[in-house]
Symmetry: C2
Subunit: 639 residues, 2 copies
C-alpha cells in the first residue's frame, strides 16, 4: 500500500489554506500526504474525493446555515439526496466485489456528510438488500434488481415496541395456511408492533419482517424472516391490513424516518419466507436487574449530592450574612476560601455525574430513550453546559487543589494547623498517621457502612496531597516556574486530588446527616444504604490509586469493594421505585411518556406516538418516489 508523494498527487491531496495553523503544521515529524497515501492508497483517496466533490458541487447537498428544517422537510431532503446517490452510482456491484473496502468507505463518506443519509442508503441497499440476496432463491433475485433501480424501497423489521434486543420475546406471528399456501402475518397487540424500523416511517414499500413461524398443529418453529409488502409503490399508501406510521422526532438522525407497523392477518405467498438467511442471534436474552443496577448508584448520588448542595448553600448564606453585617474577620475570609474550594470541585463532580447518569438512563432505555418525546435528550442537552459554565470543570478543579496545596505549604513552612471553619480539612492534621493506615476489611458485611469508605477517602486525600506537593516541588527544583509547575502537576495529580477531596466531603456530610439521632429507624436503614452505596461506588473508581499507594493490597480488597457495591444494589433494589417517588417531579413537569408515575410505559408511549401530527399520513413528497424515478448512474458522467 505504501506510495510516495509525487507532483501528480497535488490534485488528490491539495495544500490546506494558509492561516494560524501553518506554524503547527510545520512542526510535524512526517508528511501528512505520505501518511494519507500509506493509510488509504491512491485508489481509495480518489474514490473518496470523487464522492466529496460530487456532494460539494451539487446544490441539492448545499448546507443551509442556521436553517431549522422541520422534521418533514428534513426527511424529504434526505430522501431526495438518497435518490441522487443512486443517480451518481458511485460504486457498481462489480467494484464492490473487486474492492470490498469501498463499501464501508462509501457509507463513511455519506455519514461524514450526514449520518441520516448514510443510514437511509445503507438500510435500503445493504441491510434490506443483503437480507433478500442471501436468502438465495431464484424468486428473490428479481427483488435485487428492483432494489438497485429503486423501484421498491426496503426496511428491516426485527424489534418490537416492548422489546428490543431480546429476540426470544418477539411476538409477531406467521401462521402457515396449507390450503392457500400462504403465511398469515399478524401482530397480536400494540406491544408487538414492529417499532424503531429505519425507513419504515414514510418511505419503505417492503419490509423484511421477523415473526414466529407456526405450522398446523400450532407447532412453533421459532423466528423467521419474511418479505412483506407494506405500501403500494405507485402511491406510497399502506397495503390492506397494514397500519404503518412514523415514530416521531429523535435525538438525532432525524433525516431517517424510523417507523412502526402492525399487521392484521396479512397474507403473503409461501415464497415470502427467506429461508436461507443466517440465524438471528440466539442469545439475545438478558435479565433486567443489570439495567436497574447500573442506575442505582446514580440514584444514591442524587441523594448524596442533593444533601451536599443544600448544606453548602446554607454555608454560603452564612458567609453572605457575615458580609452584609460588615464582618471582616479572618474566619470570614477563611470561610470564603473554603466554600470556594468546595464549590469549585462540587460543580464538576455534580455536572459530570449528572451527564453520565443521564447517558446511562438513555442507554438503559434502549431505543426508546433516543425518542425525543421521552425527553432524555432535553435533560442531557440542557445539563451539558454545566460542564463549561462559570469556568471549564478542569479549571475549577485546579482552584480546589491549589487551596489544599496552600494549606499544606502553610503547615510545612509555618507549622500551622489544618483547620477550616466548616472543618472539611481538619482531618488532615493527622495526615502522617492516616498515611500509615491500610484497608483491613475482609468481608463484604463489614463494608456495608459509609464509615469504611470515609476512612479510605481520608487516606486517599492525604496520599494525593503528599504526592502532588512532592511532584510540585520536584518540578520547581528542575527549573519550572510556579505557574508551569502547577499546570504540569494538574492533569495527573491535582485533578484527582480535588475530586477525591470533594467526594470525601459529600460522603462525610451525607453520612452525618443519615446518622443523626432524629432519623426514624426505617429511614436510617435505607438512607444508610444509599450513603454507603454512593461512597463505595465513587471510591471504586479510585481503586487503582488505592492499590498504587499501598492502601489496598491483595486480590481481596478490590473484590470486597466490588462485591459490596453489588450487595448494596441488591439490598436497594426493592426500594428503588419508592426512592424515585420521593424525588420525582410531577408527570406534567417531567413530561416523558416512558417516565410517568403510573408505570404504563408502553401504553403511554404508544398513545403519545399516535398523538403526533401526521403519524399515519403519507409523506407530502410521495411522488418523488412513485413518479419521479431516478436514472441509475444518470449523473455518473458528471463525476
Amino acid at each position: 500500500m505504501a506510495s510516495t508523494v509525487e507532483g501528480g498527487d497535488t490534485a488528490l491531496l491539495p495544500e490546506f489554506p494558509r492561516g494560524p495553523l501553518d506554524t503547527y503544521r510545520a512542526r510535524a515529524s512526517f508528511s501528512w500526504k505520505e501518511l494519507a497515501l500509506f493509510t488509504e492508497g491512491k485508489d481509495m483517496l480518489r474514490f473518496k474525493k470523487t464522492i466529496f466533490s460530487a456532494l460539494e458541487n451539487d446544490p441539492l447537498f448545499a448546507r443551509s446555515p442556521g436553517a431549522d428544517l422541520s422534521l418533514e422537510k428534513y426527511r424529504e431532503l434526505n430522501f431526495l439526496r438518497c435518490k441522487r446517490i443512486f443517480e451518481y452510482d458511485f460504486l457498481s456491484v462489480e467494484d464492490m466485489f473487486k474492492s470490498p473496502l469501498k463499501v464501508p468507505a462509501l457509507i463513511q463518506c455519506l455519514g461524514m456528510y450526514d449520518s441520516s443519509l448514510a443510514a437511509k442508503y445503507l438500510l435500503h441497499s445493504l441491510v434490506f438488500g443483503s437480507a433478500v440476496y442471501s436468502s438465495g432463491s431464484e424468486r428473490h433475485l428479481t427483488y435485487i434488481q428492483k432494489i438497485f433501480r429503486m423501484e421498491i424501497f426496503g426496511c428491516f423489521a426485527l424489534t418490537e415496541l416492548s422489546h428490543g434486543s431480546n429476540t426470544k420475546a418477539i411476538r409477531t406471528t406467521a401462521h402457515y395456511d396449507p390450503a392457500t399456501e400462504e403465511f398469515i402475518i399478524h401482530s397480536p397487540d400494540f406491544e408487538a408492533a414492529k417499532f424503531w424500523v429505519g425507513n419504515m416511517g414514510k418511505t419503505a414499500t417492503h419490509a423484511v419482517v421477523f415473526a414466529k413461524l407456526h405450522v398446523p398443529g400450532d407447532q412453533c418453529h421459532g423466528l423467521h424472516p419474511f418479505i412483506v409488502q407494506i405500501r403500494d409503490p405507485k402511491t406510497l399508501l399502506p397495503m390492506p391490513g397494514v397500519m404503518v406510521g412514523d415514530i416521531g422526532k429523535k435525538l438525532g438522525q432525524n433525516g431517517l424516518d424510523n417507523g412502526f407497523a402492525m399487521f392484521h392477518k396479512v397474507r403473503v405467498p409461501r415464497q415470502s419466507l427467506l429461508n436461507r438467511m443466517g440465524d438471528v442471534t440466539p442469545e439475545g436474552t438478558y435479565v433486567s436487574p443489570f439495567k436497574q443496577w447500573r442506575l442505582l448508584p446514580y440514584l444514591a448520588a442524587v441523594y448524596a449530592l442533593d444533601h451536599f448542595s443544600k448544606s453548602l448553600f446554607l454555608d454560603l448564606v452564612e458567609l453572605q450574612r457575615g458580609l452584609a453585617l460588615g464582618d471582616r474577620s479572618a474566619r470570614q475570609a477563611e470561610l470564603g476560601r473554603e466554600i470556594h474550594a468546595l464549590a469549585s470541585a462540587g460543580k464538576p463532580l455534580a455536572s459530570w455525574t449528572t451527564q453520565q447518569g443521564i447517558q446511562e438512563c438513555r442507554e438503559a432505555c434502549g431505543g426508546h430513550g433516543y425518542l425525543a418525546m421521552n425527553r432524555l435528550g432535553v435533560l442531557r442537552d440542557d445539563n451539558d453546559p454545566n460542564c463549561t459554565y462559570e469556568g471549564d470543570n478542569n479549571i475549577l478543579l485546579q482552584q480546589t487543589s491549589n487551596y489544599l496545596l496552600g494549606l499544606l505549604a502553610h503547615q510545612v513552612q509555618d507549622g500551622a494547623c489544618f483547620h477550616s471553619p466548616l472543618k472539611s480539612v481538619d482531618f488532615l492534621d493527622a495526615y502522617p498517621g492516616i498515611l500509615d493506615q491500610k484497608f483491613e476489611v475482609s468481608s463484604v458485611a463489614d463494608c456495608l457502612d459509609s464509615a469504611v469508605a470515609l476512612a479510605a477517602y481520608k487516606w486517599l486525600v492525604c496520599y494525593l496531597l503528599r504526592e502532588t506537593y512532592q511532584k510540585l516541588n520536584q518540578e520547581k527544583r528542575s527549573g519550572s516556574s510556579d505557574f508551569e509547575a502547577r499546570n504540569k502537576c494538574q492533569v495527573s495529580h491535582g485533578r484527582p486530588l480535588a475530586l477525591v477531596f470533594v467526594e470525601l466531603t459529600v460522603v462525610q456530610r451525607f453520612h452525618e446527616h443519615v446518622h443523626q439521632p432524629c432519623v426514624p429507624p426505617l429511614l436510617r436503614a435505607v438512607l444508610g444504604r444509599l450513603s454507603a452505596l454512593y461512597a463505595l461506588w465513587s471510591l471504586s473508581r479510585h481503586a487503582a490509586l488505592l492499590y498504587r499507594g499501598g492502601y489496598f493490597s491483595g486480590e481481596q480488597a478490590g473484590e470486597v469493594l466490588e462485591s459490596a457495591v453489588l450487595a448494596l444494589c441488591s439490598q436497594l433494589k426493592d426500594d428503588a421505585v419508592a426512592l424515585v417517588d420521593v424525588i420525582a417531579p410531577p408527570d406534567f413537569v417531567l413530561d416523558s411518556p416512558i417516565g410517568r408515575a403510573d408505570g404504563e410505559l408502553y401504553k403511554n408511549l404508544w398513545g403519545a406516538v399516535l398523538q403526533e401530527s401526521k403519524v399515519l399520513e403519507r409523506a407530502s413528497w410521495w411522488p418523488e418516489f412513485s413518479v419521479n424515478k431516478p436514472v441509475i448512474g444518470g449523473l455518473k458522467s458528471k463525476l
Copy 2:
C-alpha cells in the same frame, strides 16, 4: 425536620396512580411519604407543590407534544413564562431571608419544568440582581427595585469571544475621563466582543460588563464590573455605540437568548463602577496543552479503531465469500463465531469511545462547542444510537465473553487447544504461563512501545477469563441455573473480559500493521507512538485490575504507566494537526466554523454568527417587555 405521615398529608403527597409499578412500590422497606417529609419538611413540600400546581394549571405553561418550536417562538414563550413568574411572585424577598433554601428550590422547580426558564429568571433576578445589590452603594439600590418590577432586564457579561474562563485575558477596556467623570467602555476588536452572555441576545436592557480599568497615565487597575445600559427599555433597540445580537442556536437551553455585544467608546457615569463587588476569581489562568493532551488519546484511538474495523470487514468479506461458494467446513463455522465475538465487543468499544471523544471535544471547546453551528451536537446525537442499535452494548459484550468461556470450557473438559481462524485466541494456549508473568518495566522509556501494553493485555485477558470461569462455576455449584449464573457474573467479570479481549485484538492488529517492513521510517515512528498511546491509555483504565490480580505491584508500576501516556502525548503534540489533516473530511462536509482547515476559528465563528437570520434584529415580541408590563404578584391570589 422529621415528621410523621398523618391524614392531612394526603393532599400534599397524594397516592400515585395504580398500575404495573404497584407491585414494586409494595416491596419498599420504608414509606416514601415519610422519607419525603423527612428530606424536605412540610413547608418546603408545600412550597414546591404550589409552584408545580401553578404551572400545571396555567395554559401558558401547557406542554405542546411534538411541536417543533422555532428558535424565535421558543425564546418568546420563555420570556412570557419568565414574566408570568413575576406575576406569581412565588417567593417574596422576606421569605428569601427567612427560608434561604427556598431560593434554590424555586430555581430547581423551574428548571425541572424547563431549564431555559430557570436560567433566564436566575440570570436576571439573582446573578445580575446580586451583582448590583452587593455593590452596595445607594445609587445602585434604585436598580434593585427596577429589577424586581421588571422595568429593566439584566445580564452578566464576563466572557469574550476568544477566551472564556481565562479572566486575565479579557480585553474590554474602561478608560476613566476625569474631565466628564465618565468611564469609556470599549471593545478593541471582534475577538474581545462579549460573547455567550445569557439574556443578552434579545432581552437585556442592562449588563454588568467586566472590563480592564485604566486611569489617566494608562495605569491598568485590572478587571472591574460596570453597569452599562445596552438597550432602551421603551423600545428594546440598542443604545448608541452598542452592537448587540444573538449568538444563535445551541445544543440545548434554546429558550435562553445568549448574546454578544461590542462597545464603541460607550460613555457611562462614574457611578457605574460596581466597586464593592467580590473579586473575580483571580486564578482563571490555565495552559492549553492539557486541552490538547486530553484529546490526543482519542486521536490515537481513531487510527487504531479505523484499522481494526477495516481489517475485520475484510475478514467478514472472506466469510461471506466462503458462504457464497457453499463452504460448510468447520473452519468456516469457527470463523463466523470468531468474527461475531470480535464485532460484538468491537461495536461497544467503538461507540463508547466515540461518544466519550465527542463529549471531550465538546468540553475542550468550552462554550463554543455548545453552539449548534459548530456541529459537535449533531455528531454526538447522531453517534448516540450506535450504543443501542443492533443490541444494547452490554448485551453484545455478553456474546463475546460467552465465546471465550465456551473455548475455555472446551479446553478444560476436552483438552482442546485454543485456536481460531484469525488467531485472536491462540495466545490463550499459554495461559498458565502468562498468568505467572509480572509487569517488570521500571522506566518510562521502556514503555513507549505497544509491546509492553500487549503483554499486559494478554495477562489481563487470561486473568479475567479464569476469574469469570471460576465465578461462573461457583454460582452454578450454589444452585444457580446456567442462565442465572451467566447473568450474575456478567456485570463484574464478563463485561470487562469482553472489553479487554477486543482491546487486545485492536492493539495487536494495529501494532502488527505499524511494524510491517513496508512502512517508511518516519511514518513508522509516528504510527508507533499512536499505537503505544492508544494501547497504554486504554490499559491505564484497567490499572485497578492489574494491581488486584498482582500483575502490577508497588507505586512505580502505576506511575510508569501514567507517565508513559503523558510522555507519548508530549511526543505527539507537534504531530497532532498533521494527524488530523490525514483523516479530516473536507470543510464542506465537516461544516463547522471552529473546525475549518484554515484554523481561523474566531474569524470563522464571528462570520458565521453574523450570517444567521435576525441576529441583530429586535425581537418581534418586544412590546411584551416594553409595553405589557407584569403586575408583580398579580396572580398570587390564584395560588
